[in-house]
């Protein structure tokens, strides 16, 4: 296994790299983290999109696109995610390894410079982001929010999280609201950019077949110029137990109803009990041998999908399924029965081993993709100690039966969300 190297850039800025020549590509990303807040979520969310479209050197969107095409279809991408109560704003560049460039170009050097320039040197006009790009990105961000409504599986999951965590920062959408985006002013975006580069916690990752040293130098120099000196803390609230279960039903013109059940697990990053919760979730509904798959789908034939997911940054567990309207309550009942089975210890060693092997298999696969490595290390930003995939696998293998039972008994039902369809396909 090829190791991860860590370098210190400045206060609150980490630089990690994995050089591995088995990849034919490179990927570098700069990930800014700030606490998610109602009044700043929208301005922050639009920033990576706005930055990714131009720089002083390439002020025109199409010219930047042409440059990337010339660099053998290299890409610059923007992304916004939530890690617990933290809003993570990412800009990444990816492209082929230098050895595949037909005319001896150094793709990694070019991409590193491009990434630095779009982040630190936007094409300001009188200190503001250009009007046309700003309007375009406002529209596109609103359309991104809209498109999440189109996929009812995604939509139902987000609604459940939003309702369940209405009084926590986690309940805020990653892009803020459509209304907030609409009302953004150019002036506040410049301020948000200043705040972001000076105050965010920043993780830089450089992965694949390239020498990380020159990339480090580019970013080191950029942050030196900036004199970044403060980093705002990014706490996540972990509500250990649900006081009472909430039920929420929404009606919509869809053929299939969706059921999403949210639970509090009591453990979140950086708790040690987290590994037991992960394994418990896998036994409950994480694999084709899980309780939910074998009972709700295979035995009762109620659905095509029924699975459980543990969101370790937030300490919550979500169960999702798509069912006929008439079967929604039956599915809910069966899901809760299966959780009780685990609480009572009604599972055998085969079930434990199957879940352990499945999880270890996916951990060990992490090192085979740059995207996998990137999410692996980013997801550990708030842990006490960074673990390699094989270290995490060893910890999972050591979880005991009793720890699984204990983890299940700490789970409390928080929110039942139903998206109820008319049952007919609209024509």
């Amino acid at each position: 296994m090829i190791g991860i190297e860590q370098r210190f850039v400045c206060d609150g800025v980490n630089f990690r790299s994995i050089k591995d020549t088995k990849f034919k590509t490179i990927r570098m990303s700069v990930n800014f983290m700030l606490p998610i807040q109602k009044n700043t979520a929208a301005a922050n969310a639009i920033l990576p999109f706005l930055l990714s479209r131009a720089s002083s050197e390439y002020p025109d969107f199409t010219k930047l696109g042409e440059r990337l095409a010339e660099l053998y279809g290299a890409e610059i991408n923007a992304d916004v995610q939530k890690l617990g109560d933290v809003q993570m704003l990412s800009l990444s560049a990816s492209g082929i390894a230098d050895r595949y460039a037909l005319n001896g170009e150094s793709i990694s050097t070019e991409l590193s410079k491009l990434l630095c320039s779009i982040i630190f040197d936007p094409p300001f006009e009188d200190g503001l982001f250009p009007q046309d790009g700003f309007e375009q990105e406002k529209r596109q961000t609103i359309e991104l929010i809209d498109s999440e409504f189109n996929d009812k599986r995604v939509y139902a999951k987000q609604r459940c999280e939003e309702i369940m965590c209405a009084n926590e920062p986690y309940g805020i959408g990653r892009y803020g609201t459509k209304e907030n985006i609409k009302n953004l002013k150019r002036e506040e975006i410049t301020q948000a950019w200043q705040y972001l580069i000076h105050n965010a916690k920043i993780e830089i990752l450089v992965l694949g077949d390239c020498d990380p040293a020159p990339v480090f130098d580019d970013f080191f120099n950029a942050f030196q110029l900036l004199k970044k000196s403060t980093t705002v803390p990014c706490p996540t609230q972990n509500i250990k137990r649900a006081e009472k279960a909430n039920e929420f039903t929404e009606k919509m013109d869809v053929a299939q109803s969706k059921l999403v059940i949210g639970f509090r697990t009591s453990s979140a990053i950086p708790d040690a009990e987290m590994s037991a919760v992960k394994l418990m979730t896998a036994i409950f509904g994480g694999t084709p041998n899980s309780k939910l798959f074998l009972n709700v789908r295979e035995k009762l034939s109620l659905c095509y999908y029924c699975s459980a997911q543990y969101i370790s940054m937030k300490g919550i567990m979500l169960v999702q399924s798509g069912v006929e309207t008439k079967n929604v309550d039956r599915a809910k009942e069966e899901i809760l029965i299966q959780l009780d089975e685990i609480k009572k210890g009604n599972f055998d060693d085969d079930e434990i081993n199957a879940a352990k092997l499945n999880m270890c298999n996916s951990y060990r696969s992490v090192s085979d993709s740059l995207g996998g490595l990137e999410s692996w290390y980013l997801s550990q930003t708030f842990t006490n100690q960074i673990k390699r995939p094989e270290e995490a696998a060893a910890i999972i293998m050591a979880v005991t039966r009793q720890e699984i039972i204990d983890a299940a008994n700490n789970v409390t039902l928080d929110t039942v969300y139903r998206l109820i369809g008319s049952g007919e396909e609209s024509k």
Binding site: K24, G73, E143, P288, L302, N358, N361
Partner: protein, 427 residues
């Protein structure tokens, strides 16, 4: 006797083995020694479009219900002595399967116990077991899978488009069939299809990753059961060049309209060459990539967004079309603009600089795809079914010339054969 061929690419710097196995099976093994995981696909050249067929032993053609290939895929996981997932649970492999228009593939990926997992794959795919009761049980599960797709606007907009373009070709029929068509599926019909199409002469095994080539072959020698020679006639009704209708609309629960614009082109049972596909890919890159004038115009007019606008060359046995897709407040205007740009390129010819740039961009993307064992195994299978070779594609991209790319327009993207499919929001 097994016949082995080594296939190398200097451009990629990799090699793989193609084996004509004595049982009739084609085997492809792509070693990646530094990978942690291995990915295997056991597939048959049999998909949703193969609903009418005749073997040389039969006098009359068989016609089977829509969705049967997909139904068979679900049911093959159950054998007389249990479920394949239960067996995989002991190796830790992550297993799955998919049915496409022209193939059905069973796969797993794993980091340990590779040969044990491969043995399970080869064994269960060769051990059909269908009873009234097990077939009946699947109706509920697949019924919910179909319902889920009924609500999926991306899926609906595609099939509505295919229905608008194709009069007779079964590509227009949903891969999973309908609740009504799958109700007609019986164990006898499943055995009929299984015995016809799951003949090793009609199948491939593709393995990519950290494997020992000899061990894979030894296992194949041990487990594969020789198949009788196969003389199979797949029957498709004549498909006219004309489209059915130029416009189709449906209302679904979406936030904004989504569209697909398709250009039907002549196609026969013999698949297109890699060169034709490479040329089309470059042509589409010039026409509609992020760096193209068309993309910029549509974006500035607020008619498309970066996250949803896409294009693809959709082709298979007896069908071929170029499809543009996205979300737009006014899909008709987008369709007109795309057609205008095509006319312009047809009349004025391609821009040399744009051609060179686009060629590099496509080249870089092909290089990048060779990182992933998932991609490699699936691509080797798809290529084998289309009588193509994996490494030839990148050579065709590198050697493409501007006039051949321009000439693709003689048969492609003719406005008179285009259809627009729109999914509008419910009022």
């Amino acid at each position: 006797m097994n016949i082995v061929k080594e296939i190398k690419s200097d451009r990629i710097g990799d090699k793989y083995y193609e084996v004509d196995h004595s049982t009739g099976l084609k085997i492809f093994i792509y070693p990646k020694e530094n990978n942690s995981s291995t990915y295997a696909v056991f597939g048959t050249r049999y998909g949703s479009i193969d609903t009418s067929f005749k073997t040389s032993d039969e006098l009359e053609p068989n016609t089977v219900p829509a969705g049967i290939a997909h139904y068979l895929e679900h049911k093959l996981f159950e054998s007389e002595d249990g479920d394949a997932f239960v067996r995989y649970a002991k190796t830790g492999a992550s297993a799955n399967a998919y049915t496409s228009f022209d193939s059905t593939c069973y796969l797993f990926s794993c980091t340990e116990n590779v040969y044990e997992s491969l043995e399970i794959l080869l064994d269960f795919v060769q051990s059909p077991y269908f009873t009234e009761q097990t077939v009946q049980k699947e109706q509920g599960i697949i019924g919910q899978e179909i319902r889920m797709y009924d609500d999926d606007p991306q899926w609906r907009v595609l099939f509505n488009l295919l229905g608008a373009m194709y009069h007779n070709h079964p590509v227009k029929i949903d891969i999973a069939g309908s609740v009504e068509s799958i109700a007609k599926i019986t164990p006898e019909l499943l055995y009929k299809c299984y015995n016809t199409f799951y003949n090793l002469n009609n199948m491939v095994l593709c393995v990519a990753g950290n494997v020992d080539y000899n061990k894979v072959l030894d296992l194949c020698d041990k487990i594969l059961k020789p198949s009788k020679p196969l003389h199979l006639d797949k029957i498709f009704d004549e498909e006219p060049l004309e489209i059915v209708k130029s416009r189709v609309e449906q209302k679904l629960s979406v936030a904004a309209p989504i569209f697909q614009l398709g250009f039907k082109e002549p196609a026969c049972k013999t698949r297109l060459t890699v060169q034709e596909i490479a040329e089309t890919e470059i042509l589409l890159e010039i026409l509609a990539s992020d760096a193209s004038p068309l993309f910029r115009r549509l974006l500035d007019a607020g008619l498309i967004n970066e996250s949803s606008f896409s294009y693809e060359y959709f082709e298979g046995a007896g069908y071929a079309s170029v499809i543009f897709a996205g979300e737009s407040k006014d899909p008709d205007v987008v369709a007109d603009e795309i057609k205008k740009e095509i006319t312009k390129i047809r009349e004025n010819g391609l821009d040399q600089a744009a051609f060179e740039r686009s060629k590099k961009a496509v080249y870089g993307r092909v290089i990048s795809s060779f990182n992933s064992v998932d991609y490699l195994a699936n691509a080797m299978a798809a290529d084998a079914f289309a009588d193509r070779e994996l490494f030839r594609y990148i050579d065709s991209v590198a050697s493409a010339d501007i006039s051949s790319v321009q000439n693709r327009l003689n048969t492609q993207m003719k406005p008179e054969y285009s259809a627009l499919s729109i999914v509008n929001p419910v009022d």
